[in-house]
């Protein structure tokens, strides 16, 4: 029990697998997730569902619970969610380099290398302009230079705007990294030290017999693959459950807003705005607009700041973005 509830990775796994599993069962069950093993005496209508362990159980319909899922039976990982366009807004006026986003991202994507996918840059354009903190992740460009140059279709652009990587396809030429002007892509120079992943790996292999893909580009870092490229994936596994990406929910200052540009709405969890109004009122802009990459991450300028730039300095580590200590020990225990 203790192990179960104290292991956020396990939880993540369960939800992830549930989603995949239910897709495999078919359309009838895809909208539902259940509480397993509850025997009820009432002569209720029952449905048959498959547990993550792969056994069929019969449960009363009242115990079948709605679990939001964007994926339907037509969902294909290389196509994405129809009629969606995911977009992020980063309010620089609120960022004080608390770095909770980085920690959350590293943890949930099992980042074990030296270079985080999401980093908070200490920026200062020139001597007399103000310094500020700039969180930077994959921009999921509409005209992605990385996808343009990929020789084997390993990194691809989906209809919902996400740029993802198929680590089973990537040949490790690193041309995409050279092409990306935002330096957002990282390479697995060695076998990723995702120690606890072996367990996950075995489970995924079990799932393989049921048609669940071993690696899926919408679970970046799950696991990371030696000799291939990784990067921020905008957390499609969270989007699928109608949840916000981990960096958004982790931020104590509400810096990150995420949403569907077609719905013209972004939210940081607490506040929800119309994207167009937010960008208009706060003079939103995108990084390196002149390059024509058309990023899907917007920035709100660091004016009328709610926080002190200096406050972030104590957190600033120029040479580290992935915290090293105790992660490996922890993972060995699990």
């Amino acid at each position: 029990m203790k192990e179960n509830s104290n292991n956020p990775r396990r939880k993540f796994l369960n939800t992830g697998l549930k989603a995949g599993l239910l897709t495999a069962i078919g359309a009838a069950a895809t909208k539902a997730a259940i509480d397993m093993d509850k025997a009820y005496s009432a002569e209720e209508e029952t449905v048959e569902l498959m547990t993550p362990e792969g056994k069929l159980i019969e449960v009363p319909i009242s115990q079948v619970q709605e679990m939001p899922e964007l994926k339907d039976e037509n969902y294909k990982v290389r196509e994405g969610f129809p009629n969606r366009k995911f977009v992020m807004v980063v309010d620089l006026a609120r960022c004080k380099n608390a770095k909770k986003c980085i920690t959350a991202c590293n943890k949930t994507h099992f980042i074990t290398g030296e270079n985080a996918w999401l980093k908070v840059y200490k920026m200062q354009e020139s001597k007399h302009t103000a310094p500020y903190w700039q969180p930077t992740m994959c921009m999921h460009c509409d005209k992605p230079p990385c996808v343009k140059v990929c020789p084997v279709d390993a990194t691809f652009k989906r209809q919902d705007g996400l740029v993802l990587i198929d680590n089973e396809r990537c040949i490790g030429c690193r041309f995409c990294m050279a092409a990306c002007p935002y330096s957002t892509r990282v390479f697995n120079w060695e076998e990723p030290k995702q120690g606890e992943m072996t367990e996950i790996h075995l489970q995924m292999e079990d799932m393989g017999h049921m048609g669940h893909e071993m690696h899926s580009p919408d679970y970046a870092g799950f696991p990371s693959v030696k000799g291939t490229v990784d990067k921020c994936d905008f957390c499609p596994h969270m989007i699928d459950q109608e949840e916000l990406p981990h960096c958004v929910t982790a931020c104590p200052n509400g810096v990150f807003f995420f949403g569907d540009a077609y719905e013209d709405t972004v939210t940081n969890g607490d506040e929800t705005f119309r994207l167009s109004k937010l960008l208009e009122e706060k003079s939103g802009y995108r990084l390196m607009e002149n390059l024509g990459t058309e990023p899907n991450v917007y920035y709100l300028p660091p004016s009328n700041r709610l926080v002190d730039f200096e406050e972030g300095l104590e957190n600033y580590t120029e040479f580290e973005s992935v915290e090293k200590p105790d992660t490996s020990e922890n993972s060995e225990e699990l």
Binding site: C170, E190, S321
Partner: protein
């Protein structure tokens, strides 16, 4: 005038001398060391190199560009000079073609060495995207390799026939030469096909050669990176490739002239002419360098400025001036004087030019990557710099040794100077000699 038999005797392949064996052994030793290191790279990943997320390409890629550059010499010597009627280059065509074949083979292997997942190489064909310059490179390199092999092989047909006869009864190789000669007997119909084919090859190799190096330049120029983002890059690379290739030919022809005593065939005049050619090519390349560096330096935009400062005044400055001055300006000055075009100084200049060309590619690839648009932050201090690791060096030397080994083996079994063409140009015919046995 030499008679036919002396000609063949002087030009037929010879067994390795003791020095030749030592040299071959040395190359094999380097190759084995490189293979061992490559095994570690396969096992542990590219972590054994000093490349990291910022310096994401390193010496492997610059070495690859170097090989591609060198391989262009095949088209320069055999095609451009031949088509322009410069017959003096005939004795050098075989050497050039051998160099070209060796270089293009190693270029292909080097790019595989750089891959994080070499076992997925077939995806390039099964999932290839025509939008990617890498696919263009794959197509054009394999095309160039086949054309280079054909251009090496076609002129060898009569030579193989000659060697078959020459070694008959003396050497087991005779049988092999016979097979490779494809029943060549110099009939009119054979000659007709032969001449036509070589003409087609000579013409076709020029656009493909330009293509291969232009596409290689585009691997860099199609990115936004300062230092690479240049419309000048294709011709700049081609000019540089001709310099490197001419230098390589000079170096090899000097060594072979010494080792195989070919003074009668590769004369001082050839060195004089190659010296002149090298001056011309160096001047052309210098012109492109001026464009490449001085135009952005005039503007000094922020991104280009950081990059150029690092080259002109920063940590790469010493190497930069060594390459520009040593690898271009000194050869121009030395070779412009007739005294500088004697074999030994030309040879020294050739070696300098090749070394300069190698480091020049290093300077094109590495510094740019260390000056991205966003500052380098959140990575270990060592990731801010790049210098190849020992294993990386060994693997790189292994590819160079591999190229030299291919050249050495070809030199052992193939006439370095085209026997048939030389005989024809000099008006020595077989019939003449058979008359007086």
């Amino acid at each position: 005038m030499k008679d036919y038999n002396t000609l063949i005797k002087e030009l037929a392949p010879r067994k390795f001398t003791a020095l030749g064996k030592l040299w071959t052994g040395f190359l094999i030793a380097v190759l084995v060391a490189a293979l061992v290191c490559y095994y570690f790279q396969l096992r542990d990943g590219l972590i054994i190199t000093e490349m990291r997320d910022y310096a994401l390409w390193g010496v492997y890629i610059s070495n690859f560009v170097f090989f591609v550059a060198i391989s262009l010499v095949g088209s320069l010597m055999t095609a451009i000079l031949r088509l322009s009627g410069a017959n003096w280059s005939t004795p050098l065509t075989r050497i050039s073609e051998i160099i070209a074949v060796a270089a293009i083979i190693m270029a292909g292997l080097t790019i595989i060495i750089d891959m994080g997942r070499p076992e997925r190489i077939l995806y390039l064909f099964t999932h290839g995207r025509l939008q990617s310059p890498i696919i263009w490179d794959v197509v054009v390199i394999s095309t160039y390799l086949v054309i280079s092999l054909l251009l090496l092989y076609y002129p060898l047909l009569p030579d193989f026939a000659i060697l078959k006869k020459y070694f008959k009864g003396k050497n087991k190789l005779s049988k092999w030469y016979g097979k490779l000669a494809l029943n060549w007997s110099g009939t009119d119909s054979q000659r007709q096909i032969y001449n036509k084919s070589i003409r087609i090859l000579s013409i076709m190799i020029i656009p493909v050669a330009f293509g291969i190096h232009t596409v290689t330049a585009w691997l860099f120029a199609t990115t936004y990176r300062p230092g690479w983002d240049s419309t000048n890059f294709g011709p700049y690379f081609i000019a540089g490739a001709f310099v490197a290739g001419a230098g390589a030919v000079i170096t090899i022809m000097f060594i072979l002239r010494k080792s195989h005593k070919l003074q009668d065939y590769i004369t001082d005049g050839h060195f004089d002419k190659m010296g002149k050619l090298l001056v011309l090519l160096c001047l052309l390349y210098l012109y492109f360098n001026v464009n490449e560096y001085l135009v952005p330096a005039y503007k000094m935009t922020v991104e280009e400025g950081v990059h150029l400062n690092e080259l002109f005044l920063g940590q790469y400055a010493a190497l930069f001036y060594l390459v520009i001055v040593g690898g271009l300006i000194v050869p121009i000055i030395v070779l412009i004087f007739p005294k500088g075009r004697k074999p030994v100084p030309v040879f020294i200049m050739g070696v300098i030019v090749v070394l300069g060309a190698w480091w020049k590619r290093y300077l094109i690839v590495t510094p740019t990557l260390l000056h991205p648009f966003l500052p380098i932050q959140g990575v270990p201090e060592s990731w801010h710099h790049y210098y190849p690791s020992t294993m990386e060096w060994i693997i790189t030397f292994g590819t160079l040794a591999g190229a030299l080994l291919i050249i050495t083996i070809l030199v052992r079994y193939v006439p370095i100077i085209p026997i048939h063409e030389t005989a024809e140009e000099r008006g020595i015919t077989e019939s003449e000699t058979t008359k007086k046995p």
